[in-house]
Symmetry: C2
Subunit: 319 residues, 2 copies
């Protein structure tokens, strides 16, 4: 009898769920549009119906060890989602684990999406066997999962590891963050942050660039990457600026937990060397002497389409 | 039969050691001048001779569970001191635990001084029973010890928790730190950092202050405290500035490990409310919404003279 775990990633746009085997293969998956379900009960029902269909494909519930969920502001201790700004069930504490356990009769665990990504990396990816590492997800926002001594760091609240909100600019001109504070890492080093940098550069500077040919308000991180690949000097310099901010912030994170590895993941990490090289240079240059040469910066090896589901499914396995 | 642990704090000036009972009483202690022993063998011998005299007072070696040492750049995993800038045995990796175990025949453990302070706080102080907290030592430098899930965070190298070196100022004007980098927390919020702030203010500004009556190059954190107690506006404003920088940095630390408590300790912490109040205000104001109301900022309750020895002794007990 084979055993499987279910993984689900709840995003602001899509909720993707799949069935994963012990080797980290997503054997089948499905998704629904998160925003279409403004009532949480409808959402639970819609997901559960489709998950049950997947479960049938692998021989029924007896083969399922558990259900793991990654969600913005997911609280591992309580199994709840709290104050998640991009989800339709705003402003409430939602007991998601309890609701799914009751509906599906399957042991359910939940954590935030970046923690889920870190668990996935530890269970199936480049961080397999690595006891101390930090996962940084560079997507629409910047998230993180911190692993200490082989265990996820949850802290006293269950919300530890919100490294997208370390302050990288304390000047009054620092960018305003969605969290209400200023100068957070994610205002500069997320996919949205780098796009904003590009827009500001196009508007403020006269330098020639392929980016000028685009609708300035619609420039994306992908556009900057495409321009950089073509050798566009401004695009490359935007990656240098962004990578440098990221690398300096990473150097500061190292003084906290002294990881042996930092894994970059998500939309912006797909720019590969364009972000990695500059981040690595800035990190190495800014490391406290005692940590020089002790930290590797690497890109996630997980297939992008599967990573979120894989990560969440890692929570589904019994320990 | 009573059992005891030996604790030693190795400072740049003094090495203080004492015998501690299970209740956290320092039953006897002694010290030597660290700088008088430029050869490590002479240092080990001098400490050991005096420690043996203390051991006799409590009934001999059979009553001793172990020897715990707190030292700058002490490495818990290896039992070594590495690259410690203020110790006379510079530039070498010193296998201190092995040397003491060989000489004294007593199980010896070592960690850095701030970690030792955190262990002391957890074993005998305000953090007794607290599973997730951060200890910040505000002395000549700024050190830290991070406790996660009831365990000291050592990280992959054994050097985790160097929070005195998080960057709080990334402008080109940021203060140069002893570590070679710029803008580290300890350049602003240590006893030396606040004294520097006072000197800069006295020189640059015309405002009246009791601090002007002192030799400007010799102003200490104690002088600033004394002036503040007398209602000196400049001194109070220097505490506000320093406390605000500290509080903002603390808010950023919270996103990492989500502690339920942050404990301040050391010379500058003795300024009590003058530093605590402003640090607390700035921390609370700058906390990510999800962490609001989840962290207490408190002053260490350990007696200053005993704290370093107590902290180190906590490593002496068998687990």
């Amino acid at each position: 009898m084979k055993s499987y775990a279910i993984g689900m990633d709840i995003g602001g746009t899509n909720s993707v769920f799949g069935i994963v085997d012990r080797e980290g293969q997503v054997v089948c998956c499905d998704s629904i549009k998160t925003q279409e379900y403004t009532l949480i009960d409808d959402y639970i029902e819609a997901v559960s119906t489709r998950v049950e269909a997947l479960i049938e494909k692998v021989g029924g519930k007896k083969n399922i060890e558990g259900f793991g969920i990654g969600a913005p502001n997911g609280n591992y201790y309580k199994g709840t989602i709290e104050l998640a700004p991009n989800l339709p069930w705003k402003g409430v504490v939602i007991p998601l684990c309890d609701m799914f356990e009751k509906r599906l009769g399957i042991r359910t665990r939940l954590t935030n999406d970046a923690n889920a990504a870190a668990l996935g990396e530890m269970t199936y990816g480049v961080a397999k066997g690595v006891k101390n590492f930090i996962m940084i997800t560079l997507g629409t926002g910047v998230g993180s999962g911190i692993v200490v001594d082989g265990k996820m760091l949850y802290g006293s609240t269950g919300f530890a590891g919100e490294l997208g909100h370390v302050t990288v600019n304390r000047t009054p001109q620092a960018r305003l963050c969605g969290c209400g504070r200023r100068g957070c890492l994610e205002t500069y080093c997320s996919a949205t942050g780098i796009a904003r940098t590009a827009r500001e550069r196009v508007i403020a500077m006269a330098e020639p660039s392929l980016l000028r040919e685009l609708d300035v308000m619609k420039i994306t991180s992908k556009d900057i990457y495409d321009a950089a690949v073509k050798g566009d000097a401004m695009a490359i310099s935007i990656f240098r600026e962004t990578g440098t901010i990221l690398g300096r912030a990473l150097a500061d994170m190292v003084v906290f937990s002294s990881p042996e590895m930092i894994v970059l993941f998500g939309g912006l990490a797909k720019a590969g060397d364009y972000i990695l090289k500059y981040a690595e240079e800035a990190m190495d240059e800014n490391l406290l002497p005692i940590f020089k040469g002790t930290v590797k910066l690497v890109l996630s090896g997980l297939k992008d389409a599967d990573a979120a589901v894989l990560g969440a499914s890692a929570l589904g396995w019994k320990e």
